[in-house]
């Protein structure tokens, strides 16, 4: 056997895999309503879904209102928010965080497709949810990591910079294992060729970018110690930096802290978690410093107490709240 041939063939095959085993973007299922593709999207990793939604924005005209977030906001449809005339698109991608929304918006801005009003969900601070973004793909992702690390070295505690590096390593590892994943490869191929296969019933994503609720809202049993074990995952300096980046966009950016179940919200408003309280103070300071319109988590008492779970509001309830926000004069 020739070792050189083996190595060359291996490198060649892996490069091929890297090039072709990505999501193939041609048209937008959100635009043409391809039911099969809309159904498959839910089986794709978050990074692919971001790409699909960015591609949709790129080939569509600029929307009036865009909603950014994750599974806590993806269920909000244009009907829920009262913008059924096509002026709304839900850019939320399940599994991502505020950090991903920031990069997402920057990329849309570069394309000149930032929504006129960007509603950005920040997961309730009690959750302390702040993972690193899986999108964009390498090597551009590494540039973002490098910028994070550089910022961290200059401005943030060493421990936080190390956490950023650790999270980047996790993203890279996930990305590597996704590269070698037959099931995912087939799903991506299925997505690319879905125009030629019969449409699948039970479509989850809708043309307005929202996703049908997986579970029907029901009476949620609230644990008194909910979120008590949350660790301080939100890195405050990095959060503030992300907010500063958002403030530079050519859009009205509204950041709202995602609501939690009213029963919990009442309890935690009176006695917030230590990390949540610290984060909220820094968040509001950054809002003021960067002149961003911000809203702390509301208590959605007017809505039904039937929720998906303690941190996932029904689309109609959250939509109504967001519609209210949109009616407000910018409150800074």
């Amino acid at each position: 056997m020739k070792l050189l041939t083996f190595t060359t063939a291996l490198v060649f095959l892996i490069v091929c895999l890297f090039i072709f085993n990505g999501i193939q973007l041609t048209t937008s299922p959100f635009k043409n309503g391809n039911a099969a593709q809309l159904a498959i999207i839910d089986e794709l990793p978050a990074a692919d879904v971001v790409k699909i939604k960015i591609n949709h924005a790129n080939i569509s005209s600029r929307v009036k209102v865009g909603l950014f977030g994750n599974s806590r906001s993806v269920q909000v449809s244009s009907q829920d928010i009262g913008l059924e005339n096509g002026g709304f698109f839900n850019f939320a991608v399940p599994g991502t965080s505020f950090r991903q929304s920031t990069i997402y918006l920057e990329q849309l801005s570069k394309m000149g497709k930032t929504p006129e009003i960007a509603l950005v969900s920040f997961d309730n601070f009690e959750l302390q949810y702040f993972p690193s973004p899986p999108h964009p793909s390498a090597p551009l992702r590494w540039v973002y990591v490098w910028k994070d690390v550089f910022f961290g070295v200059m401005n943030a505690p060493v421990a936080d910079t190390l956490k950023i590096l650790k999270r980047a390593a996790i993203i890279e590892w996930d990305s590597l294992t996704r590269l070698f994943n037959y099931e995912l490869m087939m799903r991506r191929l299925k997505y690319a060729s879905s125009e030629h296969i019969p449409a699948i019933s039970g479509t989850r994503f809708l043309p307005d970018g929202s996703r049908l609720q997986e579970e029907k809202p029901s009476k949620v049993i609230i644990d008194a110690n909910s979120f008590a074990d949350a660790k301080p995952n939100i890195l405050l300096d990095f959060m503030a930096r992300d907010m500063a980046r958002l403030s530079k966009l050519d859009a009205r950016v509204i950041i709202y802290e995602s609501p939690i179940h009213p029963e919990l919200a009442i309890k935690l408003n009176q006695q917030p978690g230590v990390y949540a309280a610290k984060t909220r103070i820094r968040f509001l300071k950054a809002c003021k410093d960067y002149n961003i319109e911000c809203y702390s988590a509301p208590v959605l008492e007017d809505g039904s107490d039937l929720w998906v779970d303690k941190s996932h509001a029904p689309g109609s309830v959250l939509g109504a709240y967001l519609a209210q926000i949109l009616k407000h004069e910018p409150a800074k």
């Binding site: 020739k2 070792l3 083996f6 063939a9 895999l17 294992t177 070698f180 037959y182």
Partner: protein, 457 residues
């Protein structure tokens, strides 16, 4: 940690190889490998690594004794701890359930100490290595008494720690002594790569795929049409073979990277012409261990029938703590004894008939690895067309994959391909490209890969 995982292939192995060849001074290599082996093992449970360490320390203390050779009492003590740890972890639950069923049924009654015992992976393998070392030392078969680090590496060496082959100290002593001076050659790399890739192929692409095809039928052994039952019988036969064979090939390949020449553990066992020959080809290192440390000490051919029954029952029990495994062992004892009675008649058949009958009989035995007694009984009824409700038949794809597996089993010579290379330049290029393609194919399926079946033993 398992070989067929991204963590092993992309992190552990590259890190150990880099440490071994680049950063570690040659004299520290042995410690690096011991450390890596313990890390490899401890990742599945720190208490398991402690058991392994205790076994090593225990055996070391005894075999270093000047008076150990020929000292039966010292030998008894030397193997006492390894034997007890094996019994505790592997057989205690079985013994309680078999002989003190009231305790097993009523969780509140006593023996709480023995509840929730998690079997350390491969404990049977490393215990047998510890015991063989003590016995060989007792018999005076060991030329040079190993130092602690040498003994530790012999027992804990990660490529063969959890599923063999079960090597004797003398088989690897030279490699251990020469580890500081080991320089890897081009030939070593090629052989190692071939063994590892073929091993991963056998496990990830063949055994794990067969497992998926069998899965839908495993839950209803009494409701299968005869054809489906036959499918399960043969598919599982190939699955268990490729699963264990794959592990052994990977172990041999990994060994080569560190200068170890681990022995072949499978010599194309399904090509055996009769049950006796099968045991000279299947899990060779265990067969020889049992022959040398049990069958011969019991008297060997002097009381052939009794000794065959005992050794095969022990062989069955080694595989698992359940009566099904003991019956499986006795079934093979019956095959071997039966063959010796009818060998004159048997041997007259054409080779292909002998192979087919032997393969079918061996495959029939694997039912006891797959099902408990009741399920096995139902399965046999299904196989002979007496199922109550016949539901589910394998797809055409399943049959084609079974055919492919059979083709690979009987016609692909992984070991020969790995050791003997064509002198033709074109063939070498094609072979190298083929191997690279196989590796990428394996990597695409690694994430759905399962544990090796023999880890349970």
């Amino acid at each position: 940690m398992i070989f067929n995982s991204f963590e092993f292939l992309f992190l552990f192995l590259p890190a150990v190889l880099t440490g071994f060849f680049v950063f570690s001074a040659a004299r520290y290599r042995i410690w690096l490998l011991i450390g890596a082996s313990f890390l490899f093992y401890a990742l599945s449970g720190i208490e398991h690594a402690i058991i392994l360490l205790l076994q090593i320390l225990w055996v070391f203390v005894f075999i270093r004794m000047d008076s150990f050779q020929g000292n039966r009492v010292a030998l008894t003590f030397a193997i006492l701890f390894p034997a007890l740890s094996l019994i505790y972890y592997k057989y205690l639950g079985f013994l309680i359930a078999s002989f003190l069923p009231s305790y097993a049924e009523d969780g509140s009654a006593g023996f709480s100490l023995f509840e929730n015992i998690i079997l350390p992976a491969g404990i049977s393998f490393f215990t047998f290595q510890s015991v063989s070392l003590a016995i060989d030392r007792y018999r005076g078969h060991i030329r040079e008494i190993p130092k602690f680090r040498e003994l530790a590496l012999y027992i804990s060496f990660f490529p063969q720690l959890v599923a063999g082959p079960i090597v004797r100290y003398d088989q690897v002593a030279e490699a251990i002594h020469g580890i500081s001076a080991f320089r890897i050659k081009h030939q070593d790399v090629i052989e190692a790569l071939s063994f590892i890739i073929f091993g991963l192929t056998a496990k990830v692409l063949i055994a794990d795929s067969l497992s998926l095809y069998i899965e839908p039928f495993k839950g209803t052994p009494g409701e299968l049409p005869a054809l489906s039952a036959l499918y399960v019988l043969f598919a599982y036969s190939f699955q268990i073979y490729f699963d264990f064979y794959g592990y052994s090939l990977i172990a041999i390949g990994l060994g080569r990277l560190f200068g170890f020449h681990l022995p072949d553990n499978f010599l194309r066992p399904y090509e055996a012409l009769n049950p006796k020959e099968f045991w000279r080809r299947w899990h060779v290192s265990l067969s020889y261990w049992i022959r040398d440390y049990l069958y011969i000490p019991l008297g060997g051919r002097d009381r052939h029938l009794r000794n065959i029954l005992i050794t095969f029952a022990v062989c069955g029990l080694w595989h698992g703590a359940d009566w099904t495994f003991i019956v499986w062992g006795l079934y093979h004892a019956a095959l071997v004894i039966g063959y010796s009675q009818v060998s004159r008649f048997w041997d007259k058949f054409p080779f292909i008939v002998q192979k087919a009958v032997n393969f079918s009989l061996v495959s029939l035995g694997w039912i006891l690895f797959l099902f408990n007694f009741q399920e096995a009984n139902e399965f046999l009824k299904s196989m002979f067309g007496f199922s109550v409700n016949s539901v589910g038949t394998p797809s055409l794809e399943s049959w084609l994959f079974l055919l492919l597996s059979a083709g690979v089993c009987f016609f692909a010579h992984f070991v020969r391909y790995s050791r003997h290379f064509s002198s033709s330049v074109i063939v070498s290029h094609i072979y190298a490209t083929f191997l690279a393609g196989l590796l990428v194919a394996v990597l695409l399926f690694v994430d759905r890969s399962q544990d090796f079946i023999y880890f349970r033993f």
